[in-house]
């Protein structure tokens, strides 16, 4: 006897070779099952004829807009990390930091030193440099100002670039 499940599997082509042949042979010998098979095939056609659901209008545009928004932070990160040029910023920051720390170095030179008796000071000739004159020179002051201005403008440029990339994605 052929069950409905077996007929469905036969109609769906899910039976193994031998079983497929066995069912086909049984159907040939028992034509009364053909009507049930025809009904099953009709149901299969009904399943295949089911309509596909359609998303709301603009679905594809929404997907593409969301995809474009996702791409923006990745590009912004790429811009924020200039390849191979970070050393310029770090170098400027280091030079600026050193110049900011210069007054701390000058303080011991300006303060009155503890007077050690000459007898206790080994007579060693140490090369000297006029640090006070160096740090009080006008050109150094101008250089500090220019460096500070350059760094500020560079940081502002980066900020505006990242902000513009994010805004252009909306």
């Amino acid at each position: 006897m052929l069950t409905d499940d077996l007929l469905w599997d036969y109609a769906d082509g899910l039976l193994e070779g031998d079983e497929q042949i066995r069912v086909a042979s049984y159907l040939g010998q028992h034509p009364e099952y053909q009507a049930r098979l025809d009904a099953i095939l009709s149901e299969k056609r009904a399943f295949s004829a089911l309509r596909m659901e359609k998303p709301n209008a603009g679905f594809a545009q929404q997907v593409m807009a969301a995809w474009a928004t996702e791409q923006v932070p990745a590009k912004a990160l790429d811009l924020a990390k200039p390849k191979g040029r970070d050393w310029i910023l770090w170098g400027i920051a280091a030079a600026f930091g050193l110049m900011m720390l210069a007054p701390l170095w000058m303080a011991p030179a300006a303060a009155p030193a503890f007077q050690i008796p000459d007898a206790y000071i080994p007579q060693i000739q140490v090369p000297t440099f006029d640090w006070a004159g160096f740090f009080s020179s006008a050109w150094l002051r101008n250089l500090v100002l220019l460096t500070t201005a350059f760094m500020a403008l560079k940081l502002l440029d980066k900020y505006l670039q990242v902000r513009n990339m994010r805004l252009s994605g909306h």
Partner: protein, 193 residues
């Protein structure tokens, strides 16, 4: 014109940065993705969200697509898993996603009327509604096999089922669908004599 371009070509173009290729893929598969999502989540707004998330995930992981399966199979796998994740967030009890334990009440299998009932003009409407009453997994497997005409092997790739499990689930889904049609929509169907 875009219909003549194969999925593989569109994928290569998309990976090369052509946004139009992404858009063509969305237009080509939006109805399939949305239908599968709707069958599983049962709600249009949720299905929109799921289908959109699935497309975004597909684009995100497009570089990982190796072409061993069809793009449609790969996309539907993403839609299926995205739908399941969405449902799990809504329904902590995972078992409720699959009605394996729900008893299947069938009409007398020997009666020709049970099959005859399907051969009527309101059949599509009744079927459409009946599929909405199926569980998410049952609806998905019915949709993938009969509407999308995927093979069981492809369904196994999409749903991570073994061949035996997929065959069993297809059989049970069909039986449950039949039971739903007969119990809920028998009045809408006129039986031809």
């Amino acid at each position: 014109m875009s219909a003549a371009i194969s999925d593989e070509t569109l994928i290569q173009q998309a990976l090369g940065g052509r946004q139009a290729a992404f858009a063509t893929l969305v237009n080509r598969y939006e109805r399939y993705a949305f239908t599968l999502a709707l069958r599983m989540v049962k709600n249009r707004e949720d299905a929109h969200e799921v289908a959109q998330d699935a497309f975004l995930r597909a684009f995100r992981y497009l570089p990982d697509f190796r072409g061993e399966a069809k793009f449609s199979t790969w996309l539907y796998k993403i839609v299926y898993s995205t739908s399941l994740n969405f449902l799990r967030k809504q329904t902590p009890d995972i078992q409720s996603l699959d009605d394996e334990n729900r008893p299947i009440r069938l009409a007398d299998e020997g009666s020709p009327d049970a099959s005859h009932a399907m051969e009527q003009t309101d059949r599509n409407t009744a079927l459409q509604s009946a599929i909405g009453h199926l569980s998410s997994n049952d609806a998905a497997i019915i949709t993938l096999f009969y509407l999308y005409e995927h093979t069981l092997d492809e369904i196994c790739q999409i749903t991570n089922l073994t061949m035996t499990n997929a065959k069993t689930k297809l059989c049970r889904a069909r039986q449950r669908l039949k039971a739903i049609v007969e119990s809920k929509f028998a009045m809408e169907l006129t039986i031809g004599r």
